[in-house]
Symmetry: C2
C-alpha cells in the first residue's frame, strides 16, 4: 500500500507559485504511516493529466489530487478522472445547495460557473469543503484504488484534509508502519563539516540519518519506521542523544524549533527581556521573534530605524558618527543596540545595520556587509561583522542577518 501525490495546475509548471500543498500532504502522509514514493505535477491539460493518472494508478493504491476543482473552464481534475475511469458525472443537489448557501451568507451573487462544482463521478462520496465552494471526492473507481481530490487553495485543502481525509484514512487502517522523522537543526556549520564529524551515522538503517543543507542552515533527518510514533521515537532517542553530544552548540534545535523559539525559551528561563533595533532588516527580526506564540513574555518590541533621523531621535545614534562613518558601521550598530536597550528598558538587545542591496554598495562597503550588535544586561556590547557576499539577493541577506543575530544571542545565552 502506497500513496502518490498529483498536483494539477499550469501555474505550477510556469513557476507562478510554490507547491506548498505537496509539502503539507507529504508531511501528513508520513505522520499517518502511509508511504509515498512519488509526487507528480501536471498542467491543466486533460491528455497529460490522463497520462499522469495512468502512471500513478499503476504504482500506487491511493492517489491524492490537489488543484483543478475550481469554477473556471481550466479546472479539469474531476471530469478528467471520470473520463479516465469511464464513469459519468452526476449533478449532486446537496452540493449545489451548499454552494448557494455560501454565496447567500457572503452576500455575493452565485454565478453559473459555480454549478460545475456540483458535478461528481457517479459513486463518489463528497469530501466536504467548509470554507470554499469546491468540494473534493473520495472515490474508489476500482476496488484496489482510492482517489481523494482537494482544491488548490492551501487553507481549504488543509481544512478538508484534517476534518475528513485523516479520519477516513485512519479508518482504512492503511497506516500500519509509521515513519516518524525528527529533524536536528544546525546553524553556523556547513554540511560536509557536519557530516565529517559523524560519518558512522549514515550507515544506520532504523533510524536512518540523512543531512541536507538549506540557505544558512543544515539539518539532520532521523527517520524511524515502527508500529507507532512512540515506538519510532524510542528508536530515535538514543541516536539523537549521541548526535547531540558529538555536535555541541552548532545544534540549535529540533523539529519545529526556530532560532527565534529557542532564544525565546532561553530568555523565558531567565525571565529576561529583549528589544531590537533594525535598519536593513526593517522589522524582519521582530517578525521572526513574534512568529513564536507567547513571545510577549520576553519580547518587548523595537524600533525600525530605517531613516537616519529615527536612529538619532529614538536610539540616540550620534549625527556625527552617521556623517563620518555612515549608518553601516560598527559604532552605529553599537549605539543602536544600547539605544534600544535603554529606551525599552530591556535586559538584552540586538541591532542590525547593513547593506541589503541591490544598490547602495561601494568597494569599501559592499552589498552584503552587515553589523550585528548584541547588548548584554551589563550594558556590554559585542559587534559582529558579516559579509554575506554580493551574489546573494536582498531578501537572502536580510534573512541571514536576522538569523545570525538570533544565533549570536542564543550562543551568548548558552554561555551563561
Amino acid at each position: 500500500m502506497s500513496a502518490e501525490i498529483v498536483c494539477v495546475g499550469t501555474e505550477l509548471l510556469l513557476g507562478n507559485i510554490l507547491n506548498s500543498n505537496a509539502q503539507f500532504l507529504a508531511g501528513e502522509l508520513a505522520r499517518l504511516g502511509i508511504p509515498h514514493y512519488y509526487q507528480t505535477v501536471v498542467g491543466d491539460n486533460p491528455d497529460r493529466l490522463q497520462q499522469a493518472i495512468a502512471i500513478a494508478s499503476q504504482r500506487a493504491e491511493l492517489l491524492i489530487f490537489t488543484g483543478g476543482l475550481g469554477p473556471t473552464p481550466d479546472d479539469l481534475t474531476t471530469e478528467t478522472l471520470a473520463d479516465f475511469f469511464a464513469t459519468p458525472l452526476v449533478e449532486r443537489a446537496e452540493i449545489l445547495q451548499d454552494i448557494a448557501e455560501k454565496f447567500k451568507m457572503r452576500r455575493r451573487q452565485m454565478t453559473p460557473n459555480n454549478r460545475k462544482q456540483a458535478l461528481l463521478p457517479q459513486g463518489a462520496q463528497v469530501l466536504p469543503n467548509r470554507s470554499g465552494t469546491a468540494p473534493g471526492i473520495i472515490w474508489q473507481p476500482r476496488p484496489t484504488l482510492t482517489i481523494l481530490t482537494f482544491p488548490g487553495v492551501p487553507s481549504e485543502m488543509q481544512q478538508m484534509w484534517q476534518e475528513t481525509a485523516v479520519p477516513f484514512l485512519k479508518q482504512q487502517g492503511w497506516g500500519q508502519q509509521v515513519i516518524h522523522s525528527r529533524l536536528l537543526r544546525f546553524w553556523g556549520i556547513g554540511e560536509s563539516a557536519l557530516a565529517a564529524k559523524i560519518p558512522q551515522f549514515f550507515d544506520y538503517s532504523n533510524p536512518t540519518v540523512a543531512p541536507y543543507a538549506l540557505d544558512g542552515e543544515v539539518r539532520l533527518r532521523l527517520s524511524a519506521r515502527a508500529a507507532s510514533e512512540a515506538a519510532a521515537l524510542k528508536l530515535i532517542a538514543p541516536v539523537e542523544a549521541e548526535l547531540r553530544t558529538l555536535t555541541g552548540q552548532d545544534l540549535f534545535g529540533a523539529d519545529q524549533d526556530s532560532l527565534a523559539s529557542v532564544v525565546g525559551e532561553l530568555l523565558r528561563d531567565r525571565t529576561q527581556t529583549l528589544a531590537v533595533a533594525e535598519s536593513c532588516t526593517g522589522g524582519r527580526l521582530g517578525a521572526m521573534l513574534t512568529q513564536v506564540a507567547g513571545s510577549s513574555s520576553y519580547f518587548l518590541g523595537g524600533i525600525i530605524s530605517y531613516a537616519n533621523a529615527v536612529k538619532t531621535n529614538f536610539l540616540g545614534v550620534s549625527r556625527e558618527l552617521l556623517t563620518q562613518l555612515g549608518a553601516v558601521s560598527e559604532p552605529v550598530a553599537k549605539q543602536m543596540a544600547l539605544g534600544v536597550q535603554q529606551q525599552l528598558q530591556a535586559d538584552w538587545s540586538l541591532s542590525i545595520t547593513g547593506i541589503a542591496g541591490p544598490g547602495g554598495g561601494s568597494e569599501q562597503k559592499p552589498v552584503g556587509l552587515v553589523y550585528i550588535g548584541l547588548a548584554s544586561p551589563e550594558r556590554q556590547v559585542e559587534i559582529f561583522e558579516y559579509r554575506f557576499g554580493q551574489e546573494r539577493d536582498r531578501e537572502a541577506i536580510r534573512y541571514l542577518s536576522a538569523c545570525h543575530a538570533l544565533d549570536r544571542l542564543r550562543r551568548r545565552l548558552l554561555a551563561g
Copy 2:
C-alpha cells in the same frame, strides 16, 4: 522538444522542505520558451529513481535533476544516472582540485566523503559550482537526450543555472516559442466573483487567461506563445488593458509587484512618507515594506509596540484605554497610528493591533480580530476591523493583517 524537472530527495517526500527549486526552474524554462509538462519528485532510492528516469526519458528530451549531488552516501543522483545509462563513473582531477581549493580558502578540512563529488559519468561535461563543492553535469547519454544535474541547495542551483545552464540552453536553440506569462494580481475580491466579471476571457487561446486563488490574493495569468518575449507581450497588452478596465481597483499590480511595492510607488509619486506601529504583526509590515529595494525614500521606520509599555511610552497610547478596552480595540489602533505618525513626523501611518492566536482569544475578542489604523496627512484616522476567523493560524492572520493594511493605504492613495 520538451523538458522535465526531476527533484530528488527524501526530505521532499517527508515534507521537510518546500520544493522551491521546481518553482525556480519552471519559471526559467517558461522564460526560455522550453515547454515542460511534468515535474516529478522522488526520494533518495536508486530503484525508484531509475523508474523516474525511465518515465521522464521517454516523454522529454531534456531532463533537469536537482538534489542528490552532495557528499553523503544518500546522495545518489549521479551514480544512478550512470547506472541507468550503463556508463562508468570516472574521477575528474579538475573537480578534485577545485574542491580542495575551496576547503583551503574556507580554512576547513577536506573530508574523504567530498571525493565522491569528483566522480562523473564518462563523457559528461562538468556544470561548475562556484559557491559549493558539488558540481553538476551536462550529459548526452544518447543523441536525443540531454541531462543537466544541480545540487539541491537553492542558491548554488540558481547560480549554476544562470551562469552555465542558461547560455548552454540558449546555444542549443531549443527555445523556439517563448511562453510568456503576465500575472494580474488582485486583493479584496474572491476568485469566482472575479471570474464572473470576465467570463468571456476564459475562452481565449493566445493569450490564455486563467485565474487562481492564493490565501487572500487572486491572480489572473495571461500566457501567450510567440516567437519572442516582445511578440508575446504584444499579444498580451490589449487583453490586459481590457481586463484592467473591467476589474478596477481590485487589481493592485502585475508580475513582481507586491502590495508593498505598489504603495511605495504611490508614495514616491507624491514624495510622501510612511511610518508603522505594529503590535501583533511584530515587524512583519515593516519587513514587507523594506523588502522593496529603494524603500528608504518613503519608508521612515516604525515602532514595534509589542509590550503595552512601548505603546504608552513611545506612541502615547493612554494607560486608561489599555486597561479599560484592552490593546486590541479601535481607540488603541487610532492612538497607535497618530502616535507613530507624530513621533516619526511621517505623512502617513499604519497601525495594527490584533489577536494572532493561538491563545489570547475570548468570546468578545476572538482569535483573528484585528484593527488597522490609517492616519492621513490631515491627521484623520480611519479604523478598519477584520475578523480573520479562528480557523486560520497565527502566521496567516499576521500575513493577512499586514496585507490588508497595505491595501487600505493603497486604496486611500488612489482615491487622491
